[in-house]
Symmetry: C2
DNA sequence: TTGAAAGCGCTAACAT
DNA sequence: ATGTTAGCGCTTTCAA
């Protein structure tokens, strides 16, 4: 006995309640597996809901319960290879809980970050995961007064609003510097993005420089690019730098993508790698494996950062806690573009 | 005269209303720039809201207005290089409108697709963009009865629930087949993913085979892999295939990522490319440019697919329309791994 | 130009 | 085990 006029309006709890001859409240309980409902009623309601094709309205549910099982995740870019992995970590950890990640993208623009933040907060999420420690005052204010756990990820060199999990990029730079020096390289060039947006790249460069200088070595050359990193950009930068400073014996790239472009070029040109020229990148992007020679790199621990951030949210939703910063230890992978110190 | 006890509860319209001495309704009008409000009131309310740090509650707003300015976007994976670009197209087109994309990821699993779909629909989005034409019956039912515009993207070989925009992958396979034949290759091997999940790859293979067979040429060998595509996988497959069928003169990969792995290997091995051995991939992934030699490929039109899908949603929200399928024309880029015919 | 009342679809809290 | 009542924080609609 189907309704002759199928309603264009989405079904409500009340519709299901009427069809199954119980109160809205009972339907609600059945659908959320809450409270005691007799197996008989339970089955009947479930069956009715299913055959009617009822989909609960979370908007109404969230308003009534003032619970929104969403975790806002704000990242600078989707095309970065780095962030998909962070997201996987978050999703993996949230799988099986009531929480779900919702993504916002800032395109590395503080203005857009503010907008995205405002937008996401207006949905009253249960927690917030946001990349980086550098935000506009307005953004920091919003985060601070959001009333939910906020986890700033990727970086631990700075002051988090609430919690942070990541690596010290200064330290990552130092680790690589130490290895470069130990391997006997002395004429080192840096190739990275324009530094006003890339805070973490800047910190790595700082760490590198400090550590080199502590050993009495000056950075020999620097080359910067604008826009998104790409293999092609790495190649271009490398060509420019080696033309300008042909006597370099090491190229340190701000990431693996550009590093691979440079490595490719140097191999083609017949440079003796790692004998006369060493190279290194950053991130340990496994997607680039299988390409010629394996680039030396430092792992940015992305998946673990994602998992940890999600876990910190879950913990704080159970029991409110103080802010906390978790610094992960980045591992150096010497790959095949670094001389074995001897 | 600040409140001595700062409220832990998020601010409401009423709080702003009380502070600025007007009704909630007036505040609402000011904040949404709706209706007529005197400039004086307007300024006062705006100022109050700003200093209080009020963030509107979209949950409540959406429930009251039964308008949710969200477009659900459901894709199989974030790590694919293909989908970030689709998303960019969608975001670009939605920029400046009231609509916002919200992402769901299925990991290529029909079961998870159902879950994600249900979850997203329970937020009553204004529109739905979903990758592929192959869905479970339950998923198709949900899409059909959602009451909002549904755009299935990437593929046009099949029956959409409502609208579709994409390319014909069968045709993409044929286009490449024609070019391969014209370039004079005859011993062709295919390297792709296990086909039960990769519907679009399967369609390309079908198209390739049909077109080859029409010319009296049989596919000489096939190699499949499981899991996600990667450069390393491409290399492995290529090694296996060339060992098994050393007489091949062409390798057709189901995508650029694996293709680049193969190309890299072949170059290292000193194969005469494109003279004795030709290669081609699919997608026109520009991120891989700058790597040794440019791989022949067919563009999958991802950014345009994204933009078109978003536009179709916007159009249909203005004026309801019939379902429509838009087939884009994939362009062949011969790169440097294809003999010039003639 | 402004305000008051009603209600969006659901759930918390309290009946029964 | 089930029902009733009263909102959640906004917007719609109507009145002033």
């Amino acid at each position: 006995m189907a309704n002759p006029i199928p309603p264009r309006r989405p079904l409500t709890l009340r519709d299901v309640a009427e069809q199954s001859g119980v109160s809205e409240m009972t339907v609600s309980r059945v659908l959320r597996a809450r409270g005691d409902v007799s197996p008989a009623t339970r089955e009947r309601v479930l069956e009715t809901a299913r055959t009617m094709g009822y989909v609960p309205n979370k908007i109404a549910g969230s308003l009534a319960s003032s619970r929104v099982n969403l975790v806002a995740v704000i990242i600078p870019s989707m095309g970065n290879l780095v962030f998909p992995e962070v997201l996987s970590g978050i999703s993996a950890e949230l799988e099986g809980t009531v929480l779900q990640p919702v993504l916002g993208v800032t395109d590395y623009r503080p203005g857009k970050e503010e907008k995205v933040l405002y937008e996401m907060l207006s949905w009253r999420p249960s927690g917030m995961i946001i990349a980086g420690l550098e935000h506009s005052d307005a953004s920091r204010a919003m985060l601070a007064s959001s009333g939910v756990p906020v986890i700033e990820i990727m970086d631990t060199d700075g002051d988090p609003v609430d919690c942070a999990v990541g690596i010290s990029h200064d330290r990552a730079g130092r680790i690589m510097a130490k290895q470069i020096l130990e391997s006997g390289y002395r004429k080192i060039g840096f190739l990275g993005s324009v530094m006003d947006r890339d805070h973490r790249g800047r910190k790595r460069l700082q760490g590198l420089k400090s550590e080199l200088e502590a050993a009495g070595v000056q950075l020999a050359d620097e080359e910067f690019y604008e826009g998104t990193s790409s293999i092609a950009k790495g190649r271009e930068m490398t060509i420019a730098m080696l033309k300008r400073s042909p006597n370099l014996d090491f190229l340190y790239y701000s990431n693996d993508i550009t590093g691979v472009g440079g490595l490719q070029y140097c191999l083609e040109q017949g440079y003796d790698i790692p004998g006369k020229l060493g190279l290194a990148g950053f991130n340990a992007v496994t997607e680039l494996n299988g390409l010629s020679r394996k680039l030396a790199t430092v792992d940015s621990c992305r998946a673990e950062i994602g998992r940890t951030a999600a876990r910190m949210i879950l913990d704080r939703l159970e029991t409110p806690q103080e802010g906390e910063t978790i610094e992960l230890t980045p591992m150096l992978d010497p790959g095949e573009t670094l001389r074995t110190p001897g």
